[in-house]
């Protein structure tokens, strides 16, 4: 298992280097069209060939990875903050506040996530720029994905509030923000960090599903999800198997995350 973890770390490190150096590794911009060679086969100039509009697939994969793998952690951060707030408030105050927060958590957990996402996405205007669509997509993921994490944080905060050191801190006059800042937050840091890491692959997959259904990031901006739309042309997959590379990259990156997360779960 140690070897598998090493491979996972190497994959993620390589991915990070690749997305950081996308500008230098890509032969062209993600929206630059080579109109004389649409649907070209892989060559020295275009490692993965070109798409229907003559855009370099390798460049789009690099920039797509950059979009998905940079914004998913941001959405995860947002969701962790939300989960920390709702779960922390529920655990700290207890009683009716906890019941109301749990009801809200139950509501979000009861609605199948993808249904909720497409419902909220459908309310938003259609004529948004690619930049706005990418922001909206990941903001929605962050806004709607906090419930499961909040339940964990709530349980953690509740346990802490019952612990002896918190009673002692309270008896010594600590209360409110000071108690939260000095005792609650430092002890919930592990749980919050775990929820942050767990959310990243979940959001990458959710964006991929949305993108593949045409409800994600708008063209011409690429993301791992929007690149999967090329797979819909199923007849072309046998003669052009390199179209499967974005899916392979996605699976390898998420699997690497999962391998490292399993290790973290064992530790906790």
């Amino acid at each position: 298992m140690k070897g598998v973890r090493l491979v996972a770390i190497t994959v993620l490190a390589l991915t990070a280097v690749t997305i950081l150096g996308a500008h230098y590794l890509a032969p062209a911009g993600y929206e630059q069209q080579f109109r004389d060679i649409p649907q070209a086969a892989p060559s020295v100039h275009h490692l993965l060939g070109t798409d229907d509009l003559g855009r370099d697939r390798w460049a789009r994969l690099l920039y797509g990875m950059r979009v998905s793998l940079t914004l998913a952690p941001l959405a995860a951060l947002f969701t962790t903050v939300l989960a920390g707030l709702v779960g922390g408030i529920a655990g700290y105050f207890g009683g009716w506040t906890e019941r109301c927060c749990k009801l809200l958590i139950d509501l979000f957990l009861s609605v199948p996530w993808l249904f909720l996402l497409i419902t909220v996405r459908a309310v938003l205007p259609l004529n948004v720029s690619p930049e706005a669509s990418v922001t909206v997509t990941f903001a929605l993921l962050g806004l709607l994905g906090w419930a499961a994490s909040a339940r964990v944080i709530c349980a953690g905060a509740k346990d802490l509030m019952r612990s002896e050191f918190i009673w002692m801190a309270r008896a010594s006059g600590f209360s409110g923000l000071k108690l939260v800042r000095l005792h609650l937050l430092p002890n919930l840091r592990g749980a919050l960090l775990a929820q942050f890491w767990i959310s990243i692959p979940v959001f990458i997959i959710a964006e991929a599903n949305l993108g593949a259904l045409g409800l994600g990031v708008a063209e011409p901006l690429p993301s791992l999800g929007s690149l999967l739309r090329e797979l819909q042309d199923a007849i072309m997959l046998r003669p052009e198997p390199w179209r499967l590379l974005p899916l392979a990259v996605l699976i390898v990156v998420i699997s690497s995350f999962q391998v490292l997360l399993n290790k973290q779960e064992v530790r906790s």
Partner: protein, 302 residues
């Protein structure tokens, strides 16, 4: 013995009554909140106050005024919400704007398709997940563990839409793709549960006394793990519904998922919100039933 039976039955009835009252209250509260969110979404959606009928040149000015007045009444959110909830309670799920058909009728056509696929996906996902977790527990083989973890790792990392596309290419049944996406959760949870249960002192004692692996699993590990596994049934239904949506869209299966996607594409909010409400209701009830079953098994064990 007889004198002790009546109070214990009364206590059991009292406990059950309290549990089910709270459960029903919770379902009602969740559904009320979901309907409020749904009504708000419909209300704030672009184009809510406009009506295609206003473009009908055959309508008189008075009719158009009447349509506008009706929309003005809906502009008041509490009023709109009350009307929405009342019609929901009456079983009226409204009419789809894009398909011009009652949502109830659309559901009657589509729901059975989704339910059949969901049942197959859940049955196959559970069977595969349980079989692999039990095999890994019984034989403790490195290769088997690697294979099972590799399989679950791969499918947990694959977007449902992408797997459905691959299945479409291979001409394999789409419900099997859903099963493969449900299985990793079942496998991982069951494996962790069996591992935790097999480390318990009474299991170690049974092993030390020479009980074989099958006997240990059947008599000592499974009874501890079973009630917690029941709780996963509700969660797996939610996962199954979630993965079926993109699979139905990609594989062109005429189920609820495809209908929801069509509603999202056509920005048919009444249809989309009502579909989400129905799916939420199914999920909440499934979770509630699995919670109740878990509770029942835990108590009977105790």
């Amino acid at each position: 013995m007889e004198s002790g039976l009546l109070p214990s039955v009364t206590r059991w009835l009292d406990r059950m009554l309290r549990f089910w009252s709270w459960a029903v209250l919770r379902v009602v509260a969740v559904m009320l909140m979901a309907s409020l969110a749904g009504a708000m979404l419909m209300r704030i959606a672009p184009g809510f106050s406009s009506d295609d009928q206003e473009l009908n040149s055959g309508l008189s000015a008075q009719s158009i005024q009447a349509i506008r007045r009706a929309h003005l009444m809906d502009a008041d959110i509490p009023h709109f919400y009350m009307r929405y909830v009342t019609s929901l309670v009456r079983g009226d799920l409204g009419t789809s704007r894009s398909l011009n058909q009652p949502v109830k009728e659309l559901l009657r056509e589509r729901l059975p398709v989704t339910l059949i696929n969901l049942s197959f996906a859940l049955a196959a996902g559970w069977l595969l997940g349980l079989a692999l977790a039990i095999a890994a527990q019984l034989w403790d083989s490195r290769e088997l563990g690697f294979l099972a973890n590799g399989l679950s790792g791969t499918f947990i990392s694959t977007p449902a839409a992408a797997l459905a596309m691959v299945f479409l290419l291979l001409r394999w049944p789409p419900a099997f793709a859903a099963a493969l996406l449900v299985f990793p959760k079942i496998y991982r949870y069951t494996q962790n549960l069996l591992q935790q249960s097999s480390d318990m002192p009474h299991v170690l004692t049974a092993r030390a006394k020479g009980a074989g692996p099958w006997r240990v699993l059947a008599w000592h590990v499974a009874p501890v793990a079973f009630p917690q596994l029941i709780a996963l049934v509700g969660v797996s239904i939610s996962i199954g519904i979630g993965v079926l949506l993109p699979i139905e869209v990609v594989s062109d299966v005429a189920g609820v998922g495809q209908l929801a996607w069509h509603a999202a594409q056509a920005r048919d909010l009444p249809l989309l919100v009502n579909l989400t409400m129905v799916v939420t209701f199914v999920t909440v009830c499934a979770t509630l039933l699995s919670d109740a079953a878990q509770r029942g098994f835990s108590r009977s064990d105790a």
